[in-house]
Each structure stands twice: as structure tokens, then as C-alpha cells.
């Protein structure tokens, strides 16, 4: 099974790109086999993506570098969650053009992850508790749901605009119905609020543990903590507003709420990147930095292009 170690970012990024191009061709001509082809390519890409993530995580467990603790790993993880969501949309709404909106976000995340590189990692300590995992995972999936909500929000606004202007529907592609987009956006808003809330709370617990061992402590007024808190409070307000004020659940308001959540998220990520929460400082073995493969395997890291071992 050594061939699995040959799977690189290019494999799944190219699959998603080809699938996006095929989705685009739906605008121009009819091809009955295209949807099967797209699904096949996406599944192939998803398989490569999953294997890549598993192998990188295995190396993390082996203490060869914390993949999911790097920005690259985090971006690839978010892209992976988006692909899972996209496959679900393909199953529920097979004839719609959701791929034209979701796949560019996936490709952007992969490109961002590759651009930031494996060296740019989150601060970490030797203390590894379950809270670290909960913190990382909930923020990862929460971010992906905010991005997906943004995609649905954009689709909703475009669809409303078309319908209000009485523009004829596209010949070979269609948007999901407004009702579906609205309900999905509402659900995503709720899920992202819960996940980012869990992420924030578990982050506080991690910081308290770090305080105890006296390592890697963030001050409570750190911009990362403050901006995360603001993002969570915004999502909480948006969800409560959406749940208890009935007109807010109708039409464009839900779309505006998810779009605003995305803008908050982008601002939050900007603050995290700009505040030194991500670092390129070299770490001791076992800490989160570059992905390094075991030298005995003699395998070239698909991310760094360097041979593993140090």
C-alpha cells in the first residue's frame, strides 16, 4: 500500500478543479453522463483527500509533526468538511448548481492552505488533552459550516434577484428552491453557533490548563480570544433573533445573517493570522510545525517536498 504515500495535494485539488470545470459546462450543453462523471471525480478526489488527511494525522500521532495543528492542515480539514457537505447536497439536490459555489470555496481553502505552507502552525504545548482536540475540531467544523452558510446565502440572494426580476430560468441548471436554501441556512447558522461556542469554551479550558502548567498561555485580552468571543456572541444573537423573531426567519434576512457571519469569520481569521497566534518558529519534535515523514519510510512529504526525518 506504499502507493498511498504518493497521494499529494495535486491529486485531490486537480479532481475538484476538473469537477468544477465539468459543472461549468452544464451552462453550455447537455450531457446525460456528466453527473455520474462529476460524482465519480469528486469521490476519487475525496478518497485521495481522506487518505492524505489520515496519513498526515498518523504522522502526527507518531510524533513527526502536528498536521492538524498547522494552518495548512486546518484549511485542508475545512475543505474536507465542505466536500462532505457537497456530496450531501449532490444527493439531496442532484440537479442544482451548488457545485459552482461550493467547489470554488474548497479550491480556495486548498490554495490558501498550500500558500500558507506547513510551517505556519498554531501555538501548542506539550500538554495534550481531549480539550485540545475538541477545541480544534469544533472550530474546524464550525468554520466550514459558516462558509457553507455563506455559499447558501449568496445562492439565496442571487435566486431572489432572478425571481424578482422575472428572469427566465437557466436552461440546463437550476438553483435549489428559496425554501430549501432558507431552511438550510437557518440550520447552518444554529450548527455554527453551537460549534463555535464549543470551540470557544474548550479554548478557555485549554488556556486554563496551560496556565496551570505555565506554558503557552494566552492573555484573556488577547485579540484572538476577544475576536472569537465577538464572533460567538454575534452568532448567538443572530440565532436567537432568528428563532424568536418570526419575520427574521423569512426570506433574505436569513441570507444576510449568514453573510454577516462569514464576514465576522474572515475578520476573525485575519486577526488570528495578524496577531501571532500562528507562528513559523521551529518547534521541538512532537510539537506542531512542519509535516515531516519518518526517514525510514524514505517518502517525500507531499506538502513540503522534503524527505522526512530530522
Amino acid at each position: 500500500m506504499n502507493w498511498l504515500y504518493g497521494i499529494s495535494i495535486t491529486c485531490f485539488a486537480a479532481s475538484y478543479l476538473v469537477a468544477l470545470c465539468l459543472e461549468l459546462t452544464r451552462v453550455f450543453f447537455r450531457a446525460p453522463l456528466r453527473k455520474f462523471l462529476i460524482t465519480g471525480i469528486i469521490l476519487a478526489g475525496f478518497f485521495a483527500h481522506t487518505i492524505y488527511m489520515i496519513l498526515q494525522t498518523q504522522m502526527q500521532i507518531a510524533g513527526m509533526g502536528l498536521f492538524m495543528g498547522s494552518w495548512a492542515g486546518w484549511c485542508f480539514g475545512a475543505a474536507w468538511v465542505l466536500i462532505v457537505a457537497y456530496l450531501w447536497i449532490r444527493y439531496r439536490q442532484p440537479e442544482t448548481l451548488a457545485g459552482l459555489f461550493v467547489l470554488p470555496m474548497v479550491i480556495c481553502l486548498i490554495a490558501t492552505g498550500t500558500g500558507l505552507g506547513p510551517d505556519l502552525a498554531f501555538p501548542s504545548t506539550k500538554a495534550r488533552t481531549v480539550w485540545n482536540a475538541v477545541h480544534g475540531l469544533s472550530l474546524l467544523v464550525g468554520t466550514a459550516t459558516v462558509i457553507l452558510g455563506f455559499v447558501f446565502g449568496v445562492m439565496y440572494l442571487l435566486q431572489t434577484r432572478r425571481l424578482k426580476r422575472k428572469l427566465p430560468p437557466y436552461r440546463r441548471i437550476r438553483f435549489p428552491s428559496l425554501e430549501w436554501l432558507q431552511q438550510s441556512s437557518e440550520t447552518l447558522l444554529l450548527i455554527s453557533m453551537v460549534l463555535l461556542g464549543v470551540g470557544l469554551l474548550s479554548g478557555i479550558v485549554v488556556n486554563l490548563i496551560n496556565q496551570k502548567i505555565g506554558e503557552g498561555v494566552l492573555p484573556w485580552d488577547d485579540p484572538v480570544i476577544v475576536s472569537s468571543g465577538v464572533l460567538f456572541i454575534w452568532l448567538l444573537i443572530a440565532t436567537v433573533f432568528n428563532l424568536y423573531y418570526r419575520p427574521a426567519r423569512q426570506g433574505r434576512k436569513v441570507a444576510y445573517l449568514v453573510l454577516a457571519s462569514f464576514i465576522f469569520l474572515v475578520v476573525e481569521i485575519g486577526i488570528v493570522l495578524g496577531s501571532g497566534h500562528a507562528t513559523r518558529e521551529p518547534k521541538e519534535p512532537g510539537d506542531a510545525v512542519a509535516i515531516k515523514l519518518p526517514a525510514e519510510l524514505g517518502i517525500r512529504s507531499p506538502l513540503t517536498g522534503l524527505r522526512g526525518g530530522s
Binding site: L163, E179, W180
Partner: protein, 423 residues
């Protein structure tokens, strides 16, 4: 095989004539039974829809089936009308023309609304009903199975069925579906009791909608429509309240002034709590003031908005027409060639049988004269005679096959005469 069609369709006959020649399923059974009694050697299928009544007959030769004149007289008699009254409105097709017509009907290329999907199931149903009464229908079975295959091929290889072309089907199938994911939990308000409202409700009902309420100035018309769709009836004074509760509105009144003004809508807008509202204003002049379409979460479509989409779809279907016709040409030629080949099969079999008999007789005679011989040599001689027969028959059979593909029948007659095969 002889295949004939006599019938009327929307192309040459008015709805009055078509109504007089229409058959219910029960009447169809009676017609088929009576026809079988009169012409027991003939296979018969009766296709009766709102746009056509067609009688298909098939037999092995023309003397076994009624002439087209006899068929049209039988049809008139079955409907209790004078033959002279309908004669000018009937069409007749035979052989290749009849096959092409059947393929065209099944593929919905002869329909009033080209590409409508219902006709194929009606063709299947017509054949099934005939087959249920007469178990042995090899000729029509072959033709109708081919027609179903052609219809599927046209649907698969062209976009002729892809786009809706009637206003109610576009309103529900295209626009309502862009707003609502499901219709079974939506309240549908009908203002007026027109034919267009009934037709639109049919589409909504088939899409899952069932919560209907009808409002009309005259209660009698409202009740008639309500009965048909198990709908509630509300009074005209109740209209503002119904506007507030509705998710979909179909308006088809004959009023000369707007029935719902912007001011009236503004009064109930707050109570709607910004729920999306899909309004189909199918009335001329319009029942809803156009400014209502600017209100939050209101999607207002007039008949003109839908008409544009209808025309666009009609154009799209028209552009697929040559492709569909090409398929029809290919399939008709294929069927006729196959048919010609099948009709030659008995003659070919007789020729082969005759050759086989001659071979066997000669082999026996030779064995009697040679007496006891080595079994290996005996087998060699038999194989040699077999090869001679096959080699002699191969060229004429190949020529016969080529001729059947070309569609002529001269060689078959020549073969029969040359080898004295009889009929």
C-alpha cells in the same frame, strides 16, 4: 405484414368531431370485441385520447384484413354516426407511412403539445387493452414495441420533452418550484373559478398540493371548482383574510379592475410576517396591481411573464425537431427492412428445406450404391454434400438480404418461380 391506420386527430378535425369519435375504456373494449368478431383474422388496436382516435389493423395479407374504407365505416357505425359526416375528417395510412405515423405518435411528435409525456403511456395502454382481449397479436406487438423503443430513443437523444410549454405547467413546474421545495404544506388560494385555475390546480395537486381554498364573487362557480379539488370555499368578503393566510395565489377572475390593490395588500402584509408569497396572476386584465410584486418576499407573475417562457420553450423544442425526425427516419427504415426480412423468412426456409431434402435423398441413393464403406469416408461424403448445398444457396440468399434492405421484392418472386417454391 400489412399495417393500416384510419383515424382522426387534432390536425384535421375539430374538437366537436373528436368528441363524437372518442371512446371510453369500456367503449374501447366493446369496439375491439365487435371488430374481432367481424374480422377474426385481423389484429386491431384502438387508440383514443382527447386529441385523436386511431384504429390500427394488421394482418399477414390484405385479403385477411378490412380495407381502410371498411375500417372507417366500422368506426362511424361504432360511434353511431353517419360515415359521410366524418369521412372528410379521417386520414388513412398504410405500410411504411403507417409505421412512421405510429412512431411519430408514440414519440409525441404528432401531439398538439409536442413533447408531452402522456401520449406514450396512452399508446402502451391502448396496446395492452387490445392484447388483453386477443392474446395472439404478433404483428401489432412487433410494431408497438418498436414504437415504444423509438419514443424512448427520441426522449433520450433529444431535448424535445425537456421544456414545458403550457402556462399552468410552467407556472407550477418552473416558477413555483424555484420558490417552494414542497407544496404539500402550502395553502393555495384560488381567486375566480376559470378553466385556467382548474388546469393550474391539476398541476399543483400532482405536485403534492392539497390545501386549497376558492374565493369567487359567485359562490356556485366556486363550489363547482371546490368540489373537483376537495377545496374550501370562502366568501368574497373573506378575501383579505385568505390573502394573509395563503402561500400561493392563482387569480383568474374576469374583473375589469384589479381585485387586489397595493393598498389592500399593505393592510394584510404585516399579518403575513414576511412569509414568501407566489402569485400567479393569470387574468387579463390583471387582478393584482403590479406594484405588489415589489413588496418584500412577494413573487408576482402575470400571464405575460409566463408566456415569454412558454415561447422560449417552444423555440427550444422546435430546434430539436430535425434531430427527432432523423431518428424517426432511421427507425422507420430499420423497421421496414426488418419486416421485409421477416416476410422472406418462410420462402427462405422452404428453399433450405427443399435443398436439404434433395441432399438427403442423393446421399441415401449414393450409400445404397456404394454398399458398406468406411464410416470416416461416409462422414466426409455427407459433409461434402452439405458444403455444396450451402455454397449454392449462399449467393441467392445474400442477394435476397441485400434486396430486403433496399426495400424491393422482385427477387423473392423470382426465387419462388425458379425453385418452384409456391406461395
Amino acid at each position: 405484414m400489412i399495417l393500416q391506420i384510419v383515424g382522426c386527430s387534432h390536425h384535421r378535425s375539430s374538437v366537436e368531431i373528436r368528441e363524437r369519435l372518442a371512446f371510453s375504456p369500456k367503449q374501447t373494449s366493446t369496439f375491439l370485441e365487435a371488430f374481432q368478431k367481424s374480422y377474426p383474422q385481423s389484429e386491431v388496436v384502438l387508440l383514443s385520447t382527447c386529441n385523436r382516435t386511431e384504429v390500427y389493423t394488421a394482418g399477414h395479407s390484405s385479403d385477411l384484413i378490412p380495407s381502410t374504407q371498411e375500417m372507417s365505416m366500422f368506426l362511424a357505425e361504432s360511434c353511431g354516426i353517419r360515415h359521410a359526416d366524418i369521412h372528410d375528417f379521417l386520414f388513412e395510412h398504410a405500410d411504411e407511412q403507417a409505421i412512421r405515423h405510429l412512431f411519430s405518435v408514440a414519440a409525441s411528435l404528432d401531439s398538439m403539445v409536442i413533447g408531452e409525456a402522456q401520449i406514450l403511456s396512452q399508446v402502451k395502454q391502448a396496446y395492452r387493452q387490445a392484447a388483453d382481449l386477443n392474446q395472439s397479436m404478433p404483428l401489432t406487438h412487433h410494431a408497438f414495441q418498436a414504437a415504444i423503443r423509438v419514443a424512448k430513443r427520441v426522449a433520450r437523444e433529444t431535448n424535445i420533452h425537456a421544456n414545458r410549454v403550457s402556462i399552468p405547467s410552467i407556472a407550477v413546474g418552473v416558477f413555483a418550484r424555484q420558490i417552494f421545495e414542497r407544496l404539500d404544506n402550502k395553502r393555495i388560494l384560488v381567486i375566480g373559478g376559470g378553466k385556467m385555475a382548474a388546469e393550474t390546480l391539476n398541476y399543483i395537486q400532482s405536485g403534492g398540493g392539497h390545501d386549497f381554498v376558492v374565493v369567487n364573487r359567485t359562490q356556485e362557480a366556486a363550489r363547482r371548482l371546490a368540489e373537483k379539488f376537495h377545496a374550501e370555499v370562502a366568501t368574497w368578503d373573506d378575501l383579505p383574510k385568505q390573502l394573509q393566510l395563503a402561500d400561493v395565489i392563482i387569480s383568474t377572475t374576469g374583473a375589469s379592475q384589479p381585485v387586489v390593490t397595493t393598498e389592500m395588500y399593505r393592510q394584510i402584509e404585516r399579518g403575513r410576517q414576511q412569509r414568501p408569497l407566489f402569485v400567479l396572476d393569470l387574468a387579463i386584465p390583471r387582478d393584482f396591481e403590479p406594484a405588489i410584486g415589489d413588496c418584500l418576499n412577494v413573487y408576482l407573475y402575470s400571464i405575460d411573464d409566463l408566456q415569454q417562457e412558454c415561447e422560449r420553450n417552444r423555440d427550444a423544442r422546435a430546434s430539436e425537431w430535425p434531430k427527432a425526425q432523423k431518428i424517426l427516419d432511421q427507425e422507420t427504415a430499420r423497421f421496414m427492412s426488418d419486416l421485409a426480412h421477416r416476410s422472406k423468412a418462410p420462402t427462405i426456409q422452404r428453399l433450405k428445406k427443399q435443398a436439404q431434402e434433395i441432399k438427403e435423398a442423393e446421399f441415401e441413393r449414393l450409400m445404397n450404391r456404394l454398399g458398406e464403406i468406411d464410416p470416416v469416408h461416409k462422414k466426409e461424403i455427407e459433409a461434402s454434400l452439405h458444403r455444396i448445398v450451402n455454397k449454392l444457396l449462399h449467393p441467392p440468399l445474400e442477394s435476397l438480404k441485400d434486396e430486403s434492405e433496399a426495400g424491393s421484392a422482385g427477387l423473392l418472386d423470382a426465387l419462388k418461380r425458379l425453385f418452384q417454391l409456391g406461395d
